[in-house]
Amino acid sequence: MHISDGVLPISVAVGGYVAGAGLAAWSARRASNEDLPKVAVVTSAFFVASLIHVPLGPTSAHLLMPGLAGALLGPVAFLSIGLGLLLQSLLFQFGGLTALGANALMMGVPAVACGWFFQKYKGRTQLRQTIIGGLAGASGTALAAVILAILLATGGEDFFGVAKIALLAHVPVIIIEGIVSAFTIGFLARVKPSLLMHSFRRPQIPAHG
């Protein structure tokens, strides 16, 4: 779920922009400058993945995947998510222009946190990676929901009700995200474990030339 224009108080919207831009710059510096085009291409893959709907009883939920993005990209995930949101509001109608910064914080901060968590605890066995991946996926979405609620609540006590409902609405999504992330990480651990290392890292010497 993305916050649309006009909801947040102007101070929060501007503050979100400032914090988001700062974090994006930090995140960009985690990757070498040469690698940034790669980040862009990977972003489009996540973008496409986020369009996938998972059936959920009578309705369906589409995946947000902050946790998964963090697990695969590490700190660069923030930049990637910011870029994805920018694209979304530029070209695909969703998400507000003025709320872009806040949205980036809402999705990007959990991604980086979960990426760190996954790298720290992923261990070596496939089973463990699957479980940790699932935890990272679920907690990524949970954290995003919490941040969303906090951002909404900045509007004053009038918004508390909306914030609570938004939080509750995320519960089924959190569960689905957890399962999907676990299975996806499990798949990658079997098929292409190298993806579970962070692909973009600052000290990386450009592989060849």
Binding site: P37, R190, V191, K192, G209
Partner: protein, 633 residues
């Protein structure tokens, strides 16, 4: 285009553009990809780089343009080591065309993309655009300059990618599979463009017919090293060599013998099945079928098609003729208007939803079909959807895997398998579901000749109704009895495959110009034929012969030398010569031998004949070309 005289690689030393010495390369945690490569490439060389999938061809051309750097040994370009500053400067002189044009077209519009190289050469934005515009003109895409790349067809993308390279006016072009998946007309455009290119050309491809037309030198790779370095003519002429490198595409060159085409067991079975079901309704039937995309594009108009049980049909037509749309309609993925009967019953919503149980399809790109972490799961995926029991799943999985020669692969990861194996796996996944109708979309795309031959024999044995979309006329001929020609969304011809091949007017009308293939095929066939009859060889076979008045029959050796046409290995046509590597080989003689005499007592060495055909030389005149060729199989 090809002059016979020009096939000798020039012996006189001249400036080498590339010089590779003792090149070693290994991918991170992979096997040795290249070892001990020594290669020199002259400025006007046109090299075909051939070899089985995984033999290191792509790795080698990446070395040539500095995308990979050698672990040991070196690559020099214009006399300097291709590294650091020199590499940066040389980048734009060496153009590399990737297999998938989407990797290469990263610009927002086609012209942005084509101008990328010239801008990096330091041209100002306006000048770069001008250069780009000219390059687009050369590939006939000037009218698409401001189009977004994803709106182009595959062939157009490929040409746009080539324009991006030509715009920088490179000295060298490295091409990785330039013609896979494009229709014959576009292929011809490519051929013309590349033939007009003046610089050095290194082309990786499995399509030896294409290479034959384009290249003069052939480098054969095997397991990461260079196995041979031939003149092109020489390579294609030597079936045994081709065969040993898994490159024997000669099965493609067999003349089409009408009437009794590879009458395998499946063929006869099917014929019977067809006779029995003559009265039964066809498996599927379309009458007056239309399809219109939501945006109003008419993709199919007035399609009438009937597929009887047991029939084997080829569907041909240019890119964008509507073949894929028609397949999607048959599979029930799209819904058009008109009559669609499946086994005599109109396809209602409910039947359409269950069409997948009866119709299986193997996609052009196996990657679109394989997504499980193991072969076993992959094959059982469809079976699980069918809802069959666990035991049956196991059984049918085994059965399907052994059918495609992948027994024992259950635990392997599909992603790590070779192209040919993946194709067969995709086939197994579909076959395990025992479809009534099997649809194949470009089955031969991207396979090396060995993989093709294997797939061909598997498909030939199958007892199933078949609908195959292909640009590959050899597959069409070998596997089908009926050909449906599509053009601009409708079926313009529906005729026996034999008749299709005879009707050249039709092929031209449809833009399916196979003429260069026919031309090359013929030339190569002649070369191979010549070779098989004329090179130094030894046979062991029985035939009657006379000694004075005695005529008897026994096995004996023939050991003889005669005229060679292999220009690179022979100082002259009439001189005595020896071929260390292929002095001896055995091959059965199916034809007759003329009666002749030979000396039973003479020491072996005396059998050597040089040049002139003496009385001892055995008589080939009685051979029929084709059966002789065939006996190699």
């Amino acid at each position: 285009m090809h002059q016979w005289e020009s096939h000798l690689p020039s012996q006189e030393p001249k400036g080498h553009l590339f010089r590779l010495t003792n090149l070693q390369f290994r991918y991170a945690d992979g096997p040795q990809a290249l070892s001990g490569i020594d290669l020199e490439i002259a400025a006007d060389d046109r090299i075909a780089l051939v070899g089985q999938n995984g033999s290191g061809k792509t790795t080698l051309i990446k070395q040539l343009c500095g995308l990979l750097l050698p672990d040991a040994g070196n690559v020099s370009f214009k006399g300097q080591d291709l590294r650091n500053g020199h590499l940066e400067r040389s980048r734009l002189e060496i153009g590399i065309l990737f297999q998938d044009p989407d990797d290469q077209l990263f610009g927002h519009t086609v012209i942005d993309d084509v101008a990328f190289g010239p801008s990096n050469q330091g041209l100002a934005s306006e000048d770069a655009r001008q250069v780009a515009q000219q390059a687009l003109q050369r590939v006939h895409l000037a009218d698409k300059a401001y189009q977004a790349p994803h709106r182009l067809s595959f062939g157009q993308k490929k040409r746009a990618a080539l324009a991006g390279l030509l715009a920088t006016n490179p000295a060298v072009l490295l091409l990785d599979e330039p013609t896979t998946n494009i229709d014959p007309r576009q292929e011809q455009v490519f051929l013309d463009l590349l033939a007009a290119f003046k610089g050095t050309l290194v082309c990786v491809s499995h399509d030896l017919l294409f290479l034959y037309e384009l290249c003069r030198r052939a480098v054969v790779m095997e397991n990461g090293s260079i196995a041979h370095d031939y003149a092109m003519n020489d390579l294609v002429a030597q079936r045994s060599e081709l065969r040993s490198h898994g490159l024997d595409f000669s099965f493609r060159l067999m003349p089409i013998d009408n009437g009794e085409k590879n009458g395998g067991p499946a063929e006869t079975r099917l014929a019977e099945a067809q006779r029995e079901s003559a009265s039964a309704p066809p498996m599927l039937e379309l009458r007056g079928y239309h399809f219109r995309y939501p945006d109003g594009t008419r993709a199919l108009t007035g399609i009438d098609l009937s597929v009887p049980v047991g029939e084997r049909i080829a569907m041909v037509g240019e890119n964008g003729a509507g073949k894929t749309t028609l397949l999607a309609c048959l599979l029930g993925l799209l819904e058009g208007n008109g009559t669609y009967l499946f086994e005599g019953r109109p396809v209602t919503r409910r039947i359409r939803r269950d069409l997948w149980r009866n119709i299986g399809m193997v996609f052009q790109d196996s990657a679109d079909q394989l997504f499980c972490p193991s072969v076993g799961e992959e094959v059982s995926f469809g079976l699980k959807q069918l809802g069959v029991s666990k035991n049956e799943i196991r059984e049918r999985t085994q059965e399907a895997l052994s059918l495609v020669h992948l027994k024992g692969f259950e635990q392997r990861v599909p992603l790590h398998m070779s192209g040919g194996e993946r194709k067969r796996l995709a086939l197994a996944c579909v076959l395990a579901m025992s479809p009534r109708l099997l649809i194949l979309d470009e089955p031969s795309a991207g396979l090396d000749p060995q993989g093709e031959e294997q797939l061909l024999s598997i498909l030939g044995e199958l007892d199933v109704t078949l609908l195959m979309v292909s640009h590959d006329m050899f597959f069409v001929d070998a596997l089908t009895r009926r050909t449906v020609v599509m053009h601009r969304g409708s079926i313009i011809q529906d005729l026996p495959t034999d008749a299709f091949f005879k009707d050249s007017r039709l092929s031209n009308l449809n833009g399916l110009a196979y003429s260069f293939r026919q031309r090359c095929g013929k030339a190569i066939r002649e070369l191979q034929h010549q070779h098989e009859h004329s090179h130094h060889h030894r046979h062991l076979h029985a035939h009657p012969h006379e000694h004075d008045d005695v005529v008897h029959d026994h096995l004996h050796k023939h050991d003889h030398a005669h005229r060679h046409r292999f220009l690179h290995s022979h100082p002259g046509e009439e001189q005595e010569h020896r071929h260390a590597s292929r002095q001896y080989h055995d091959h059965p003689h199916a034809g007759e031998h003329g009666v002749h005499d030979h000396n039973h007592n003479a020491p072996k060495g005396d059998h050597k004949h040089s040049g002139e055909h003496g009385p001892h030389d055995h008589d080939h005149t009685g051979h029929d070309k084709t059966p002789h060729d065939r006996s190699h199989k």
